[in-house]
Symmetry: C2
Subunit: 297 residues, 2 copies
């Protein structure tokens, strides 16, 4: 696939998921202020990389991405709730997110906590609401189980806890990977695996997608750590060097910058190897993999 | 049913759900500290009225309560997460809950937020994990949909928002009921309706159970308001008169104490009328209704 093909794909599905997010929250029969707080962070932009991964996986099977709209929206709701809660004063205490004031800066802490809770809760409802013709009921239950695992104590929340506990400590590479695999990796991996489950993949293929997503997730995080040191503040939307300032262990701090770049390259290669081992149309997934390796924000 | 019968029922199912909660959280593959924070609040006691309602509803159909163990545990997880988040400094800022230090007082705010998030997330996983022989997959999806509605922006979270916005304002009775129906009523009602759904109730019966639960929920809240003014601090586990001190509109403040007692009685009567209109064994549900009307904590 050429760049034009990917740009078309990306634009189409970003618009699709953003329209769905807006519509599904707006129509809730709930106090206006909580809907505004939910929408503020859902609409704060971002690359929508998780939904795009899900849509691209469906397309790899020759399926329409639209089949996965509910799951894609649910993942973005979970991702967004985690950002809102992570930014809170008692957590990372961030004032800015993607260059905009964080949720609690605009709506206050209580609303930010509740908007996160509401998004988290709604994500499961959205998946259950998918039509049974599009997604068999048994698959919906699997999607819900795996989403909860990826985002709860055994996944993202567990990673956030380990991240907090690791602050100010010198972590080993294993400890750092535990954090990243849980804090960001599991939900990224879920995005791909959910697409494959909706497409009706067999277990062998699901495993290959899991391997792909594992390496993609680590590549994503290594790139994040590199950007924190070398990125352009205007583009990444937060202060450069904030990890160092917060005494955070990162890939560059453990491996040197050169070592981090090398590790990034290895994970990208392993991710693509996994894609090449499938007999599927994985061109868009490869584009996304390159995007992750080279992104500047 | 006599008092002895109810005591036996209550003891049996409290133990059942408490053992399930402990076991299911303990076996999570997650950092020890987050499991401790989750268990601390899950094990803080309480009447377990929501699980008991669910089990009693199943027994009304002549079904074993055990069929509903996952749903009962999920409800208690949601209820517990909501207490942890409501107690936070940016919300109600409570130091005590059931006479014990609140979650954030013991584990700190960040952990309290994350323990709540993890419990909320896990609740959906627990329902999905029920065996398909016990609960057909289609019913599990319904249970998940309705749990999300009862606890999210259209339910409990919406009620909490309305409650916060109403603080210090003179509310009308309609506004006060909106708050209670959403903040506590929907999850109480869900407990009953979930039991009926698992038992395979038809729509007509589901509606009768909804009516029962609606009145039970309002009775519960009116009793709560009365206890806040007349309760024994040692027994209710928090300061008497705290609503008044916080300028909160309550049933006694809107209706006078006499009016509140009258309204409590009316809702209890309507709740029992709904039970009497079913051709089911609703004795235990009536016991719980009396318990709600007369409880002293």
């Amino acid at each position: 696939m050429n760049k034009v093909g990917f740009t078309t794909f990306s634009k189409k599905y970003k618009e699709l998921v953003e329209a769905y997010l807006k519509e599904s929250v707006s129509q809730l029969s709930a106090p206006t202020q909580i809907k505004e707080a939910m929408l503020y962070s859902l609409e704060a932009g971002g690359k929508r990389i998780r939904p795009l991964l899900l849509f691209a996986t469906l397309e790899a099977f020759g399926k329409k991405g639209e089949l996965g709209i509910e799951a894609a929206a649910a993942i973005e709701m979970i991702h967004t709730y985690s950002l809102i809660h992570d930014d809170l004063p008692s957590m990372d205490n961030d004032d800015l997110r993607r260059g905009k004031p964080t949720n609690h800066k605009v709506f206050g802490e209580a609303y930010a906590i509740l908007a996160g809770d509401a998004l988290l809760t709604y994500s499961f409802q959205v998946i259950s609401s998918a039509s049974s013709e599009a997604i068999p009921t048994e698959v919906k239950i699997q999607l819900i189980t795996e989403l909860a695992k990826a985002s709860g104590a055994e996944g993202m929340v567990g990673g956030q806890v380990a991240d907090m506990d690791g602050e100010g400590k010198d972590l080993s590479l294993d400890e750092l990977e535990y954090i990243h695999i849980h804090k960001t990796g599991k939900l990224l991996a879920y995005s791909v695996v959910a697409g494959a489950m909706i497409a009706g993949a067999n277990n062998q293929l699901l495993e290959k997608f899991t391997t792909f997503a594992h390496h993609l997730g680590l590549a994503f995080q290594i790139r994040d750590d590199i950007l924190d040191l070398e990125g352009d503040q205007e583009i990444i939307g937060k202060k450069v060097g904030s990890d160092e300032q917060n005494n955070k262990s990162t890939y560059p701090s453990l491996l040197t910058m050169e070592g981090a770049r090398q590790s990034l390259l290895e994970h990208i290669t392993l991710a693509k190897d996994a894609l090449n081992s499938m007999e599927l149309e994985t061109e868009i997934l490869k584009e996304i993999t390159d995007l992750v390796a080279n992104r500047n924000h």
